[in-house]
Symmetry: C2
Subunit: 198 residues, 2 copies
């Protein structure tokens, strides 16, 4: 992991998509490992264990917690769409409650690109938070639909494609094939941004 | 991690309290790492991402998934006690739904020892599952109350004390101090078992 990080230029924002979340004592040690030892800028955290499993990650200056809200996989429906007595989905409750833990300067939310219909709703509940949107690429998320639903005045979206890029080729042309995939996503985003921000 | 495991006799049941849970592709790789490479017998898994984040861990013979249900920390109240429209807590929904994923021969449930009042309820919803009960020791859980609420005909409880044992002493008497702490928990359990099973 450390070795991989050493290849990444310092000015790149690095996210450990580690989906941690544990009792406070253990979350503190995970936070030290990812933020101090490995010097990641951000880490994804699962909310099931609640506030004291997340707050230890918030005690680091200029570091980000990216909380799982509504994920890109099929199983996201099992519990994240559970409706509470107040008529809110679990993922809405997580947005509601977690806004008491940190400001949008320290916390982002994970919303799968495969849930474009939910992105609009999440954007209305969290107008100022950055949304990390995985699921474009191998998982088949719709970049266009997600951008239209999720962009805000500060952009507010980090769109992530992983497997479509890192597995772009298993041959010697890997560097070129991966570059091509990455540029394709970047250019789609740029076109959309120019179109929507004007 | 591998080095620590090498010190543990083969006949001991080993649990990676890693609280993983990710999209299927990633969960599969975690499962291989913990079950094949490191040869753990079991791993704890967080349920927030639903079925396809958990099932990859179930594809290994003679290995166990231990699913987080109601954890020992204060933040457990934030979402695990959210009441659904059907009048069930989220942790009850997780028990209900996850019983479709695996039998009690492959899956156990994590219930914090600090939630003795909930253990009785969980035992009634999952009469045959083993319950992994952390929180005795440093976290102050009540071994007696938990045992009375959670024992079944096969015992059905794995009680775990971590910090009270591994931090028993920071001096040269560590081995003896840790042994004393471990034996104290073991003897309390044995007394309770003899009392309750007769």
């Amino acid at each position: 992991m450390k070795k991989t990080l050493d290849y990444i230029p310092k000015e790149c924002f690095t996210i450990a998509d580690a989906k941690r979340g544990d009792i406070g004592n253990t979350s503190s040690l995970y936070a030290k490992a990812f933020f101090n030892n490995m010097d990641f800028d951000a880490i994804t955290v699962a909310p099931y264990m609640g506030e004291d499993s997340v707050t230890p990650f918030l005690e680091f200056r200029d570091k980000w917690v990216i909380l799982l809200i509504h994920t890109s996989n099929k199983g996201a429906e099992d519990f994240q769409l559970l409706e509470s007595r107040d008529g809110r989905f679990l993922y809405e409750e997580v947005i509601h409650t977690s806004q008491h833990w940190a400001t949008p300067d320290q916390m982002m939310y994970v919303v799968g690109a495969t849930k474009a219909d939910k992105v609009r709703n999440i954007r209305s509940l969290a107008p100022d938070h950055f949304l990390l949107v995985p699921g474009v690429g191998a998982q088949g998320g719709d970049l266009d639909a997600v951008s239209r639903a999720g962009l805000n005045a500060q952009c507010g979206l980090i769109v992530n494609a992983s497997r479509s890029i890192i597995y772009a080729s298993s041959k010697e042309d890997f560097a070129m094939a991966a570059k091509k995939e990455a540029l394709a996503v970047q250019q789609s985003m740029e076109t959309l941004l120019n179109e929507m921000v004007k």
